[in-house]
Each structure stands twice: as structure tokens, then as C-alpha cells.
């Protein structure tokens, strides 16, 4: 680990320091970059890193080799990922036994190991570098640009890549109003879900009466299947800190908070390290870079309540109160944390800021659609071939994200819907796949941008169950303060349970719609107001599935027990007797060479025969 040699005293010091870091004398000839994002770490990449480190140490003098841990590359599906410089050779699904060979052949010998390269499923072409992989080709990485390149535990890495040059520029040549103007020109909108214009929020907070003013980074990401913010905090924590510095300067704040959920231990660890390094170098604290601007950041860990991602609940939690939302009739930019003007932005929003300052608002506004500028990070999960973290320019169609980046559907199944926006979002069906990813367009479809979860579902997914899943999630996560959310979601869940348990009643859809309307109009916070979106959007696009459950007592996706039956395909059955032996209620009869039969009266629909049949002769009908 490189010790931090300097305390930066003026804005120009940053550039000089970055320059000195790039001196060829200091930079190693070969670098092995091992991803230690949570996904890869779960597959044992920490150990890989240690092995590479050891190998580099043992090798010694002639060539300087550095093993480096880096943040999430995004292609979590193919982890652990190891990239070798020079050449940016991209190895995927690396395991411990591969380390010695990679070191010998690639790092020292410069030879490429074909078997560790990514192979395109369609063309069978091997990709040597990231940019040859379709998963990366369509992406446009601004926020994630540093992920996979820099060591998140070293401030020097960030500075060498041009980090903290934006705050230097701001402090040396821009007034707070000019900073806000630049963000306004960029057209940056809140990435946490609401899409509120960031510049307008900053300006309101700047103009609000009352001191001190606070800036908050919302890192309480809680949507099921979403991990965008975690990866940014883990992989490039300094970009968030720099963004907050710039925001605080523009707003006139000296106090910053990062609210990160405690379930993100690596993110917290990296942020802590980053903050203390920034402090040591004089980038946080009193009179930053000898200017009159002072700012420091404190990390607060969230206790795991989903509702604490809502700004007022988050602030209540920061105050030490129960994390419950309060009315926002008076905006938090006027009266937020401790009743003082408070500006809260999401992790991704903050991480965009340094880039905008460095490259100009016009550049940023050149990316995206008319009203949604820049890029958006999504966590692409579900039944696609390539899951992972992707960053795409606004305006890309859902189809391109799923087909080109995601590589299409898994196991040759048919696409059914994509769920965006987390529990507050909705399901978008195949006929709307050409929709462009944009705040307004997704909202129009009854879904929303949200913080960036994107769950792809295939024909085997029952949409009523999807709605039920999200409703149950929200019922559990409702704080219980206001009546409609606490009681209404429970009543919706009660009806959805009834439908998926083959007890749906005529009129249930209308009852759900009525409750949804009530929630939307009367709930206290956004969690409650949008809680019905999963139900409403599935009713809107998949009403026939609801009808099939209620009227025909049939689950078209064959997921709801009791709404389909098992039968044995006479022709496929080899009369092996496995199902017969495994049936716990002896509902299957048959002899050798005689296709077996399920007695529907005895069958309890446990699915054991379906699981055990080696010839897939048991069918769901």
C-alpha cells in the first residue's frame, strides 16, 4: 500500500500530484486487476487477489508487477474477473488453480489463455478485451468508468485517473452559482427514482434561510435485485465524496452525511477509508485546499429499513428517531434534517457531478434524450443470459438492453415482462420493449425509472405472483405510521393471496384497483403512494392472467400450486418407476413397460414426480 505522502495545499497541487503519480518510474509494467466487488468476492476473488499478490512479491525485481483489487466490473454473471495490463486482457470465471498459469503465461509471458476468455454464445467468438464483449459494447460508462480500473482503497489511484480535479477547478475558478449553472446546463436529474432536477434542488437549498445546511448522500439502496449504488460506493467511493464536496460548495454547506445501509459492509469500509484518506490529504476538513470552504462527511449506517431510503424517514433516522416519514408539504431543502435546509441526493447522482464539472454540462447534455440526460446505471437481473451492472445512455431501448447487453433470454424461453423501478415500479410487457429508457416514458407505461433495478421475467413467471411478491415486500417494509399503507397493503396482499391460492373471487381485480387508487391518493409517503404500482401495472398488461386465476382456476405460467395439475406424457414415459417410488401419497400407478398414470384425486400437487422424472415426462397442465 502506498502511503500518502502529501497534504495538498492549493487547487493546483492536485494536478501536479496526479502528474507525479503517472511518472513511468512509479508505475509498474504489469498490473493484475482483480475484482473484489461483492459478486466476485462471493466467488472467492479475495483469495485470488492474495495469490496474485504473493506471486508478484515472489517474482521480485526485473519487472515491476502490481496486483491490485478493483471495484465491480459489472459482469457479475462471469465473475471472478481478472484483467491484465498491458493489453487489458479480460479473464472471466477465474479460479484459484488458474492463478499460477495466468501469472506464468500472461503476466510474464504475454501469452493469452484462450480458455479463460469470454466466448459469445451465439458466434462462439472469443473476446480478448472488455470492449470486444457485447455486454460492454453497448454501454456508455461515465459513473462506472473508474470501477474495474482503480483500487477503491487508494486515493492515489483515483487522483491518478483525474480524480479531485473537479473540486480543484471549482475552488479555483467557479462561484457556487456557476457550479449550479453547470449542473443545470447538464440537465442532471435525481438518480434515486424521482428524477427531480438536481440544479433546482441545489438552488432552493442554497437560497433557503437557516444555518447550518446539510448535504446527504442516500446510500440506503433497498430495492430487491438492485445493487447499483453499492457497486459505486464499493468501487469508486472518492467519486461520491468529490460530488458531495462540489455540491456542498454550491449549496453553502459544511456538514455532510452518508447514510449507508449496514448490509453493505464493504461499501462502508471503503467509504470510511476514502474519507480518512481525503481528510489526511486536506480534501476534507477545514479550509480545503486553503480556500475558505470547509466540509466534512460522517457515515451513518442504516438499520435495514427499506422506508429509510425515503428522504424524510432517512433524516428522522439520522436524528436518532424512528425511521418514519413525515409530511413533505414543507420541502426538505427548506426544513429537513434537524429543521435545517437539507439537500439529499442519491449515490449515483453525486457520482455524476465531478464528471459534469470536468467535462462540462454541455457534454453531459449531449447524451440521452430531450428530458433525460446522461446515463443511467441498471442492475440487470433475472432470466437474461448475462446479468450484471450496466450503464447505458438514456434513451436506449429496453430491447437493446435485454437482447444486446443481457444477451437475450436464458434457456431459450420466451420473454414475458421486465420489471423496472423496484417495488414502486411496474412490469413492462413485450409489446413495449421498444420503449426508450427515459424518466417520462417509463412513467407513462405505469412503471418508473426508480433507482435502476431491472428484473427480466420469462414465460414461466406468473405475473400475479410477481405482484404478490412485491406487495408482500412492501407490507413487510411499511413503517405502519399511516392508515392506507399499513392497512391497505395488507388488504391487497390478502386478496392476492386468495387469487394465487385458487380462491380468487369475481370482483377481486376491481377491489385491488380501488385499494390502489386509495393508496395512491392518501398514503403519507412515496412508499405507500406507489405501493400499488406492481399490482396496477400487472393488471394493466396481464389482466388475462388474473382472469385465468380467478375465473378458470388456472395459472397460465403454472407457478401457483392448485391452479394447474401434473400429468404423465404417455409417449415420453419410460415406465422407470422413479416417480411412483417418490410420490409421497401413492397417487401414481403403473407397471414395468406400462406408462404411469397420476390419480388426480389423490395427487396433492407437491411436484415431487415433476422434479424427479429423468425424462421430463411429467408435465404441468
Amino acid at each position: 500500500m502506498i502511503s500518502i505522502p502529501v497534504k495538498l495545499k492549493k487547487p493546483a497541487d492536485i494536478e501536479a500530484f496526479a502528474h507525479s503519480l503517472k511518472n513511468p518510474e512509479h508505475t509498474p509494467a504489469r498490473i493484475v486487476r482483480v475484482c473484489i466487488g461483492t459478486g466476485c468476492a462471493a466467488k472467492g476473488s479475495r483469495k485470488l487477489y492474495e495469490l496474485f499478490l504473493e506471486a508478484a512479491k515472489e517474482h521480485g525485481e526485473n519487472i515491476r508487477i502490481e496486483a491490485k483489487c478493483v471495484g465491480c466490473h459489472g459482469f457479475c454473471e462471469r465473475g471472478p474477473i481478472v484483467v491484465i495490463e498491458p493489453g487489458e486482457i479480460f479473464y472471466q470465471q477465474v479460479e484459484e488453480p488458474d492463478v499460477a498459469e495466468i501469472f506464468r503465461e500472461t503476466v510474464l509471458g504475454g501469452k493469452i489463455l484462450d480458455r479463460l476468455l469470454y466466448e459469445d454464445a451465439g458466434t462462439e467468438k472469443k473476446a480478448r478485451t472488455e470492449m470486444e464483449i457485447p455486454f460492454y459494447k453497448v454501454q456508455h460508462r461515465i459513473v462506472l468508468a473508474g470501477n474495474g480500473r482503480i483500487d477503491p482503497t487508494k486515493i492515489t489511484d483515483y487522483i491518478a485517473e483525474g480524480g479531485y480535479s473537479a473540486i480543484a477547478k471549482v475552488l479555483s475558478s467557479m462561484t457556487p452559482e456557476e457550479v449550479i449553472k453547470e449542473i443545470e446546463v447538464a440537465g442532471l436529474r435525481g438518480r434515486g427514482g424521482g428524477g427531480f432536477p438536481t440544479a433546482r434542488k441545489w438552488r432552493s437549498c442554497r437560497e433557503a434561510d437557516g444555518l447550518p445546511k446539510y448535504v446527504i448522500c442516500n446510500g440506503d439502496e433497498g430495492d430487491p435485485g438492485a445493487f447499483m449504488d453499492r457497486s459505486i460506493m464499493e468501487g469508486n467511493p472518492h467519486s461520491v465524496i468529490e460530488g458531495m464536496l462540489i455540491g456542498a460548495y454550491a449549496i453553502g454547506s459544511e456538514h455532510g452525511y452518508m447514510y449507508v445501509r449496514n448490509e453493505y459492509p464493504l461499501a462502508i469500509e471503503h467509504l470510511k477509508t476514502a474519507i480518512s484518506q481525503a481528510r489526511e490529504m486536506g480534501l476534507l476538513g477545514q479550509n480545503i485546499l486553503n480556500s475558505s470552504f470547509s466540509f466534512d462527511i460522517r457515515i451513518n449506517r442504516g438499520g435495514g429499513a427499506f422506508v429509510c431510503g425515503e428522504s424524510t424517514a432517512l433524516m428522522a433516522s439520522l436524528e436518532g428517531c424512528t425511521g418514519e416519514p413525515r409530511a413533505k408539504y414543507v420541502h426538505t431543502v427548506e426544513s429537513g434534517l434537524r429543521g435545517k435546509p437539507t439537500n439529499l441526493n442519491n449515490v449515483e447522482t453525486w457520482a455524476n457531478v465531478p464528471q459534469i464539472i470536468n467535462r462540462g454540462g454541455k457534454w453531459f447534455a449531449g447524451i440521452g434524450t430531450e428530458k433525460s440526460k446522461g446515463t443511467k446505471v441498471f442492475s440487470l437481473v433475472g432470466k437474461v443470459l448475462n446479468t450484471g451492472l450496466v450503464e447505458v445512455p438514456m434513451g436506449l431501448t429496453l430491447r437493446r438492453i435485454i437482447d444486446e447487453i443481457g444477451g437475450g433470454m436464458r434457456d431459450g424461453k420466451r420473454f414475458k415482462a421486465v420489471q423496472t423501478g423496484g417495488p414502486s415500479g411496474g412490469c413492462i410487457p413485450s409489446e413495449n420493449l421498444d420503449t426508450r429508457v427515459d424518466f417520462e416514458e417509463l412513467t407513462q407505461l405505469g412503471s418508473m425509472m426508480g433507482s435502476g433495478g431491472m428484473i427480466v421475467m420469462d414465460e414461466d413467471t406468473c405475473m400475479v405472483r410477481v405482484a404478490r411478491y412485491f406487495t408482500e415486500f412492501l407490507q413487510k417494509e411499511s413503517c405502519g405510521k399511516c392508515t392506507p399503507c399499513r392497512e391497505g397493503i395488507s388488504q391487497m396482499l390478502y386478496i392476492l393471496d386468495r387469487i394465487t391460492d385458487a380462491e380468487g373471487q369475481v370482483g377481486d381485480i376491481e377491489r385491488l384497483e380501488e385499494l390502489a387508487e386509495l393508496l395512491e391518493g392518501t398514503a403519507l409517503c412515496a412508499l405507500g403512494k406507489t405501493a400499488a404500482n406492481p399490482v396496477i401495472s400487472t393488471i394493466r398488461y396481464f389482466r388475462d392472467e388474473y382472469d385465468a386465476h380467478i375465473r378458470d382456476r388456472r395459472c397460465p405460467a403454472k407457478e401457483c400450486r392448485g391452479l394447474f395439475r401434473y400429468e404423465i406424457d404417455e409417449e415420453a414415459c419410460k415406465a422407470c418407476g422413479i416417480c411412483l417410488k417418490n410420490c409421497p401419497v401413492n397417487a401414481i400407478t403403473g407397471e414395468k413397460k406400462v406408462p404411469h398414470v397420476i390419480d388426480q384425486d389423490k395427487c396433492t400437487l407437491c411436484g415431487m414426480c415433476w422434479e424427479k422424472c429423468p425424462f421430463t415426462a411429467v408435465l404441468k397442465i
Partner: protein, 277 residues
Amino acid sequence: MPLHCRLKNIKKGKPVPTVTIDGRKVRVKKDATVLDAANKADIWIPTLCYHPALSPDAACRLCMVELDRGEWRQLITACNYPVRKDIVVYVSSERAKMARRGVMELLLARAPESEELKALAARIGVKETRYPTVTESQRNCILCGLCVKVCEEIIGQSAIGFTGRGVERTVAAPFRQPSEDCIGCGACVAVCPVGTIKMRIHKSEQEVEISPFKSRVKLLVCEECGEPVVSMQVNERVLGMVKGNIEDFLKHWRLCPKCRRSRTAARFQEVTGCEKD
């Protein structure tokens, strides 16, 4: 933080905004609530979790009214929406009425046995609820939070609070045990809008119990007739608040109001020599 404190930070604007409620115009002080304006205009808005002595929380969502935003209308809670400029609201619009009725139906499913709630429901046109009622253990408390607030903000004891989250939310004393902080004042009983919190006098033990929290406090008993007067702790606290020379008063403080009156009358007679009528 209570709303009135939060509002301190807000910029001064036009001093006396006009609120038009269902066509009726009233002028209120800046940062008064829509409910204040409605009261002034003599228009009734049903409330449950609102109490003039306590900071508004807008938790029950029964006081929904419609706010005219020009191009669209938004449902807002009257009890905590601050009036900061001229606004137009509708209390009796169809959407506002439906919203209030919808909330009431959900509340009725929670407290189906409360006569108070049934009466309020009938007043806003809800005869019964279509929803299944909640389990017995949670029944009859609508979680408005008035009891918790009054205990904290007015009495200063915080003997009860919310426990659990979401559907598990209940009002209870810590660990659901009788609270040692409860002074048996009965403020929670007085504010409970659905009559679920009750005060029980256990005469033989000379104790008052606040139900359902099971907290018990010793009662001051009239030294003459033996009737319970007030909880010992409330009595002590009140005495502590009295300033000046109260020696004379202290002679009478262990009497119930009735006995005190008769003793005063007797003394009056003694001093003046007048006979009782």
C-alpha cells in the same frame, strides 16, 4: 420535530393568505393549517389523530381534502398542510369524500367494535367495511398515536410508545409490561378517539389501572368518605407546581371535592355564624 418548530425556518411572505374552502373564503394567519381555516369557515372535516393541544402527525389520513393546483388537484391532509399563500381547497368534492370513506373503511376493519368510530363513520356516509377485520390481538386500536403524543408532549412521561413496524405496530409500554413511568393521569384515556384506552378503578386495592397497558398507580383516597380522588403521582406533581403560601390548602388536599365543599361550608358557618339554607 414538531411542525410548528420546523416552520420557524420558513421565509416570511404574504402575511394573511386567503383560503377558499368549498367556495367560502376565509383569511388565516400564515402557516395556519387548512384545518384551522376550515374551522374558521365553519366547515367540518373529520379527524382522528388530530388534537389542538398536540403537534399534527397526519397519520390517520382521515382529514383528506382536495387542493387545487391549477392544472391538477392533489389530495392533502388538512391537519398539517400549512397555508403559505392563497389557496383553493375542496372538502366536499367527490374525490375527497371517497378518499375519506376509503380510509374510514380500512379503519373500521381495525376497530369494528368502537362505537365512537362507528358514529364517525356513519357521519361521513360509511355504513360498514367490506374488508376482513384484523386479528383480535390488534383489534380496536387505530394507531392514531394521540395517546403516545399526549404522554410525551403534554405530560412529559413517555410511558407508552409505538412498538413493532408495519402491521406489527402497536402502542404499548416498554416490553409490554406495566410501566413505571405511568403516573395514572389518564390523559391517554381522554384523547383516545375510539374509546379503546380505559381507566379502571380498583377500589379494594386503592389503585387506578390504565387499560390495556396494565399500568397501575396508587390512588389518593378521601380521608373522610374513602372515595378515590386522583392518582398519588398526579397529586404530588400538581402540588409541586403550586407556588406561594398553600398551607391552608394543604389542610384540605386529602379530601374529595364533595367532602372539601362540605368542610368549607362548615367552616364558613363557623366563621360567619350563618345557618345553611
